[in-house]
């Protein structure tokens, strides 16, 4: 029985002509204990999928079953409680609350479960020990390095013993040395039986996963199991696809992707349309960033 079972899930933003298809009838099952890496170009819907799996968001259509419970129709309160009890999040940035100590940050999920102060600080200290940050527990987040922040975020994700850890580009802001430490930590968690779903742009990092999922324009275009320790060929190839800096690169990347990805014939037309829209959005985003 898969711990996550997603069937034909779509997520639409906006309406009318301005509709963005962030997820397009995605189906995926994840078994307990898997370490899934999710790759795909910017805007392909990776974060959207993570948010839906992590119960931060609701699918527009489709069914989502999380540990044998239909959750796609849950109200925000029930989602919050399931999220609290079953999910641990690690984001790319702004993980820790800047005004709380590392220890208080890590203990935060337990506070919302109503665990007593003494117990939750005890437990937070234990997980901080596990991620090697015990001596930093009373620091404020701004006194930590990027890698340490991510490790603290992982500790916070772990503190409530979640069934699933969702990491959206956890190494996105880290140098390679820090990335290595963070990934070794996640890998260690995987070995001890945790289920991890991680978004990454870095193909090297897929070596820690035992399954790699490729997304494109809101669809899962490829899904493969790989032995831990190996970087799959497809991911390596994708290395030349990202990161894209200019519109030309963007186009080249997309066409490269289109060359090798197994095509779903029926959706070809719609994809092309969505692609055009996405490019426009990406361009707008870049100019907004600049």
């Amino acid at each position: 029985m898969p711990i996550i079972s997603i069937k034909d899930v779509s997520k639409l933003y906006g309406f009318g002509d301005a509709t963005t298809v962030a997820l397009d009838e995605v189906s995926i099952d994840v078994e307990a204990g898997e370490f899934v890496a999710v790759m795909g170009p910017s805007g392909s819907g990776k974060s959207t999928l993570m948010n839906i799996i992590g119960l931060l968001d609701r699918p527009t259509h489709g069914e989502y079953m999380l540990s044998n419970r239909y959750v796609s129709k849950l109200r925000s309160n029930q989602r919050a409680k399931m999220r609290r009890d079953k999910i641990g999040f690690v984001f790319q940035s702004f993980n820790l609350l800047p005004k709380l100590t590392v220890l208080d940050n890590v203990a935060l999920p337990l506070m919302y479960r109503g665990v007593s102060t003494v117990k939750r600080l005890q437990r937070a200290e234990d997980v901080l020990d596990r991620v090697g940050l015990k001596d930093r527990q009373y620091f404020m987040p701004k006194a930590l390095s990027g890698g340490q922040v991510q490790r603290a975020a992982i500790a916070r994700a772990l503190v409530g013993d979640p069934q699933i850890i969702i990491a959206d580009e956890p190494t996105g802001n880290l140098d390679s040395a820090s990335s290595l430490i963070v990934m070794e930590l996640l890998s260690e968690l995987h070995r001890t039986g945790n289920t991890i779903i991680m978004v990454t742009h870095n193909p090297e990092i897929t070596r820690y996963a035992d399954r790699v999922v490729y997304m494109h324009d809101g669809c899962i275009v490829h899904d493969q199991r790989t032995p831990v320790g190996e970087v799959p060929a497809l991911a390596k190839k994708a290395m030349y696809v990202y990161p894209r800096k200019t519109e030309e690169d963007d186009l080249a990347g997309v066409s490269a992707m289109m060359d090798f990805r197994p095509e779903k014939p029926s959706t070809k037309k719609r994809k092309a349309k969505a692609q055009a829209k996405r490019r426009k959005a990406a361009k707008a985003k870049r100019s907004a960033d600049a």
């Binding site: 931060l56 968001d57 919050a80 999040f89 005004k99 919302y112």
Partner: protein
């Protein structure tokens, strides 16, 4: 809501001290103004009541006009505020005076004639005072002692002699014992034969300072001024103090009868004067306090404003908290707790500051404000309510934030 919320809230507030102090300032000012105004009112009331009592509660005052409404038992139901301050309007006639003086059971009685306008002494004009024409029994009726000289006696009522208040002595003659000096009233010379001790109360009405009065025999004043010096009060004291109530209604009835059944005069006991005065003062204090209470509302809006800013500044924080499992209610409670802590802190500081202001007023002025506990408690309750009421909207706004939007901000 559990105590953890308040701890977290307290921490958050401490960390943004500047912002929080500004927020609390509104509440502090509100409480200080309400408490100070009410306690000033209480202090003045206490002082005035003390003064009115000092004259003796059996003093009967008769004046023109209908100042109070009584129920069937003769208890005062409604009061005309004109009756508290100043001389008031309307005059009594000689028959009224005769009725009071002739009533059985009256020990002493005097009309009070009032002549406004300046007097001259030593070629200097004195415009701040006023001339009162009375009978020799006035010092007795007001229980006021003469400091120098003596009041005029029954045999001197037609003579042009004057007894003056202390302020008149100081301002007109620049000396304490101006006995034998001459004051010219309406072209007539009056010889000063006495100076009153300082009046500490205003038995004729609030705002009437008898220290600025020149007292002359009523018949003589009538003679030189005529209708320019009308009778504005008749004062009387009963032989038996316990009989004051009966005597007052007896006088009232007789005057009514003589006025052909018209109920156009008011007879007040000093104890009723007390009631009249304090009710008007209470109303006044309440009114000013209500105006001051507006600043509490302004303080509340300040809290709301800061909380709203804080909610939008802390969008990311709300996103993270929701991502780790905070429910809408938990987020709402967190922000509510902040608003409550802010307003309670503001309340505590406000109460403390009120006592400080109270002390400063006592030291630097001759007012003596009285802080009463109900006022303090009410101010505290109001400040907390204000926090809750105005903290609610931002808290609900925070709770409703979509975690995804919250996490995306500035990403």
């Amino acid at each position: 809501m559990h105590s953890g919320n308040f701890k977290v809230a307290y921490k958050t507030i401490r960390e943004s001290r500047w912002q929080s102090s500004l927020t609390m300032f509104g509440i502090v000012v509100g409480i200080v103004s309400v408490v100070t105004i009410v306690s000033l009112g209480q202090g003045i009331k206490k002082q005035i009541i003390g003064e009115i009592k000092s004259v003796g509660s059996d003093l009967i005052t008769v004046r023109a006009g209908k100042g109070v409404k009584r129920d069937t038992n003769g208890n005062i139901q409604k009061i005309n505020p004109d009756f508290v301050y100043g001389f008031g309007s309307g005059t009594l006639n000689d028959r009224d005076v005769a009725i009071v003086e002739g009533s059985a059971g009256v020990k002493d009685a005097t009309p009070i004639r009032l002549l406004n306008g300046s007097v001259i002494a030593d070629g200097r004009e004195y415009a701040d005072g006023f001339v009162l024409g009375t009978n020799p029994s006035l010092p007795n009726l007001l229980q006021q002692k003469i400091e120098y000289g003596s009041y005029f006696s029954t045999g001197e009522t037609a003579r042009q002699v004057a007894v003056i208040g202390k302020t008149v002595a100081e301002q007109l003659f620049q000396e304490n014992v101006p006995l034998g000096q001459v004051i010219t009233i309406r072209g007539q010379d009056y010889i000063v034969r006495g100076v009153f001790e300082k009046f500490t109360s205003n038995p004729l009405g609030q705002g009437i300072d008898l220290n600025q009065a020149i007292f002359v025999p009523a018949p003589s004043l009538k003679e030189i001024a005529g209708t320019a010096a009308p009778v504005i009060r008749v004062l009387a004291r009963p032989q038996n103090p316990n009989n004051a109530g009966n005597l007052a209604s007896q006088i009232s009835n007789s005057i009514k009868e003589s006025h052909g059944g018209q109920d156009d005069t008011t007879v007040l006991l000093q104890s009723e004067n007390l009631q009249v005065t304090s009710s008007v003062l209470d109303k006044l204090t309440g009114f000013i306090a209500a105006i001051a209470a507006i600043s509490l509302v302004v303080g509340g809006i300040g809290i709301m404003n800061i909380m709203l800013v804080s909610v939008s500044e802390r969008t990311r924080e709300i996103g993270v908290r929701k991502a780790v499992g905070a429910t809408n209610r938990q987020i709402r409670n967190q922000f509510m707790a902040e608003a409550i802590v802010l307003s309670v802190l503001g309340g505590v500081i406000g109460i403390f500051a009120s006592f400080v202001v109270n002390f400063l007023i006592k030291v630097t002025t001759d007012l003596s404000p009285v802080i009463t506990w109900p006022v303090v408690v009410i101010a505290a309750v109001v400040s907390i309510s204000v926090g809750i009421i105005f903290g609610t909207i931002p808290a609900i706004k925070a709770a409703r934030k979509d975690p995804i939007d919250a996490l995306r901000v500035g990403n």
